[in-house]
Symmetry: C2
Subunit: 134 residues, 2 copies
């Protein structure tokens, strides 16, 4: 069912510092910061040959990653995103196997303009999993 | 400098349960458990079209992931691994930019039989970074 690893998202306390670490230290191709007010984050995309890293920083008071950074002030990996062909079929299959879908269970339009869902970390080894319809 | 994302490693408290979640819930291709006594882990590889997920479980008393699971009993993402062409050049460049290499700074032979180094999580947004010479 799951296909490609679409991205690894890393919440960072200082976006400029994180961009510099990846650009100057790791020599990666680091994009410009993009505000995504609908998702409460500012994002920097790092394009690797086979996938992406997304550096996330809170934007606005209701950012969904604010709590994560409060608990992890140095930052940390926030979620990983797998692609699926049919997000509703994936959701229904996962629910049938006992996995919990966060929120009301209906896909939302994610930061890439595609339908996404998040799965409960307790069902996946403490790891927040995003599914994105590719 | 960094190339492909080689893998995302997830430490799991119950390898059988984690394998079942990925195989039956997420419909992924899940390999058989492999003991790696030299690295103190039992590993299950999950092959995605563009990269790998490695489920890690402690093997033996001195496992390097035992402390992580003590702190994160439900499991969690333990590290991410980027490929580099020349690990010594990468190390020297990173040290020159102020990043800290764990251990004595000399590459070890990793779980894939290739030279690896780990970078200090405090220099990379709370994220443990492995470099592997591809």
């Amino acid at each position: 069912m799951i296909g490609r690893l679409n991205h690894v998202a890393i919440a960072v306390p200082d976006l400029d510092a994180a961009a510099a670490q990846y650009r100057d230290g790791l020599g990666a191709t680091v994009g410009a910061p993009q505000d995504e007010p609908d998702h409460g984050v500012t994002v920097i995309f790092i394009e690797l040959p086979n996938t992406k890293i997304e550096l996330l920083h809170p934007l606005g008071e209701d950012s969904p990653i604010r709590g994560f950074l409060d608990k992890n002030p140095a930052g940390g990996i926030h979620h990983i995103c797998y692609e699926v062909d049919d997000i509703l079929a994936a959701r229904d299959h996962l629910k049938a196997t006992g996995a919990r879908v966060l929120g009301d269970g209906e896909p939302k339009i994610g930061a890439h303009g595609k339908p996404v869902l998040f799965l409960h970390p307790k069902d996946f080894n403490g790891c927040l999993v995003e599914l994105e319809q590719a």
